[in-house]
């Protein structure tokens, strides 16, 4: 449902080539199907060596790599690819969700790390985020989505020329959403990117923060920018 919802949007990642390296056939099948439904072109490798071979010989826009693989560890694949100078974004999947494992995964050259069991929507959002990151290398001082503008240096936000007064955390939250404009940003991603927490706060505190931000940026404007994507997270996007 989420997958189709994302796919029906004009997805800039549409048609991008993804390689999934995952040994669990069933999980891989779901993943491939889900990604294809979302508009990606997907290849699948079931072992480490196969995955490394495909990734080193074919052009992929991104990889989704399981950590525990027969034949070769997922982290080794990523390290080897990085040594070969292949810099496509990599999303690491793992059954180990501890902070130390996450750090290991990122150190090996992964761009993001997702612990199993994960929600497909979460994976999709993170994949989109790492794909987009690959394209924008320039440091920006200004962000804009529709008539909403953010001046990163002056720390000022305006909508349709009208100044919006934000608290520091609201500013950081909005900055994160604007940097991922048009993409789904999950609650976990917001908690990680804005607060740097990697745990599950039992109550959904993020929802409250987002609804406050929404009040400030969308209230009094006919076209809302900040949307809730059911079962996934939030999306800040220009009105169609």
């Amino acid at each position: 449902m989420v997958a189709t919802a994302t796919a029906t949007r004009t997805n800039p990642s549409l048609g991008m080539k993804i390689l999934v390296i995952e040994d669990d056939r069933e999980a891989a099948a779901y993943l491939v199907k889900g990604l294809e439904e979302s508009g990606y072109v997907v290849d699948h490798a079931a072992t480490g060596p196969d995955g490394l071979f495909l990734a080193s010989t074919q052009p992929y826009d991104a990889l989704v790599v399981d950590r525990m693989l027969p034949g070769m560890d997922g982290l080794t694949i990523v390290e080897t690819l990085r040594q070969q100078g292949r810099n496509m974004p990599v999303l690491i999947l793992s059954a180990m969700g501890e902070v130390d494992d996450r750090v290991k995964g990122l150190k090996a050259g992964g761009d993001d790390y997702l612990a199993k069991p994960y929600a497909f929507a979460e994976l999709l959002a993170r994949l989109e985020a790492v794909l987009r990151r690959g394209h924008t290398g320039q440091p920006t001082t200004r962000l804009a989505v529709g008539d909403l503008e953010m001046d990163l240096l002056g720390r000022a936000v305006r909508r349709r020329g009208q100044a919006i007064d934000l608290l520091p955390r609201e500013f950081r939250l909005l900055e994160c959403l604007m940097r991922h404009a048009g993409q789904v940003v999950t609650r976990t991603m917001l908690l990680e990117k804005v607060w740097d927490y990697h745990f599950d706060p039992q109550t959904n505190v993020i929802d409250v923060h987002v609804s406050r931000l929404r009040q400030k940026i969308d209230r009094g404007f006919d076209k809302p920018l900040l949307h809730t994507v059911r079962g996934a997270g939030y999306c800040l996007r220009e009105p169609a």
Binding site: M1, G97, E98, V99, D100, P117, A119, R169, W195, Y197, H198, F199, D200, P201, Q202, T203, V205, V208, H209, R212, R230, G231
Partner: protein, 465 residues
Amino acid sequence: MSPRNALRTTTFRLALAYLAIFVASSATLLGFIYWATSGAIDRESEQIIEAELTGLREQYRQWGVVGLVRVIEERSKGDRADDMRYLVAGPRFERVTGNLSAWPPELRDRRGLVEFPLKVRVGDRQEARQTMAMAFDLPNGFRLLVGRDMKERSEFRERVLGAIAWSLALTLAFGLAGGYWVSRHLMRRVDAINRTSSGIRAGDLQQRVPVTGKGDEFDQLALNLNAMLDQIERLMSGMRQVTANVAHDMRTPLNRLRARLEVTLIEKPDEARYREAIQETIDEADRIIATFNAMLSIAEAESGAKTESMARTELPPLVDQIAELYEPLAEEKGLALSVEHAGRAVARADHHLLSQAVANLLDNAIKYTPSGGSVTVRTAETAKGAEITVADTGPGIPAESREAVLARFVRLEQSRSTPGNGLGLSLVQAVARMHGADLLLEDNAPGLRVTLRFAAVANGRSTAK
């Protein structure tokens, strides 16, 4: 335990080594006594012989051969005749007088002290006696021999050698018996421990190593082992409890999940209804995953293997950040959330897990405090150490239930209408234990006050890590 095993023990081997050292040292000591004493006897004999010779020479000088012969004859019959030997002989070694029948061949050409076995008549039989003797040529071709029977020395030697042999034999016998006895005695104690541990391995965790009450090192060992076994038993029963709780708390949502799918399948096919059911199922699965993750976090904190991630942490910024995360939630609920800092509270902490623990405390406080109440988070540097306190004006926890709420899956509210998995405080407790911190649940009159009190951090370590 079989006698053969007692011989194979470390104790017995040690006893043997000890015995060998003891035997060697006593043999050396007795040998030295033997050597010194028999040397002293030799020297005494030499002195006697030389004194006799000097005396006899003096006699000869004064009275000539006749005088010498008379003195020798006297002395040969005197009270010292038993162990002294005298002989005066002519130029061709023919006997003149003395208590020897012939000039011994050993002394024909040699001068000075000579020791040799001499045949003497004792009663009516010949006997070879070790004798020390010295010959002296008189100016007129006569010869004089003075000797001493070394029987005394031989007897002494025999006695000492006998004593050495006996004492070594007795030492060996006592040493072996003692070593055997000690090792059997120790083996009995060790066997008791072995029996207990094999009993435990066989599945009876109730067994304990017997304590004799002597307060010796074996009792100490037994007490330590028993304390360890107590701890293991506690952990095991805790684990059983948790497993039972997990089974129960997981079965309920899984059952719900299954029932929902089953009912949906029975119902008339309807896409909208299907979608709704699937979404509900996903939500339920997410809750189950969240519970699992919470259990993993607890396990992570309890494993205590994260000591390397512990660093000197300033508590006020950590608390500020969490409070900032929860502030809108409190406001939404009509609660006044305030943060206070007294001093620069510092503790050795794992930033991530401690943040999670404080988040859980705040989450609970906000969840259970009714609208219009207040929640206060406070850090303080006290004489006892740094503290983080979360106080609310909610219903609080009755004193008798304060211990219970720390256990996993325990929720005081029977209806379980508020969301939560009953793991929040368990995680806080696990994190507190991992940090060596005290977790205090107190009455805030009204409400609950939870305090995490850390051990003081030495100032010298301020730059470490």
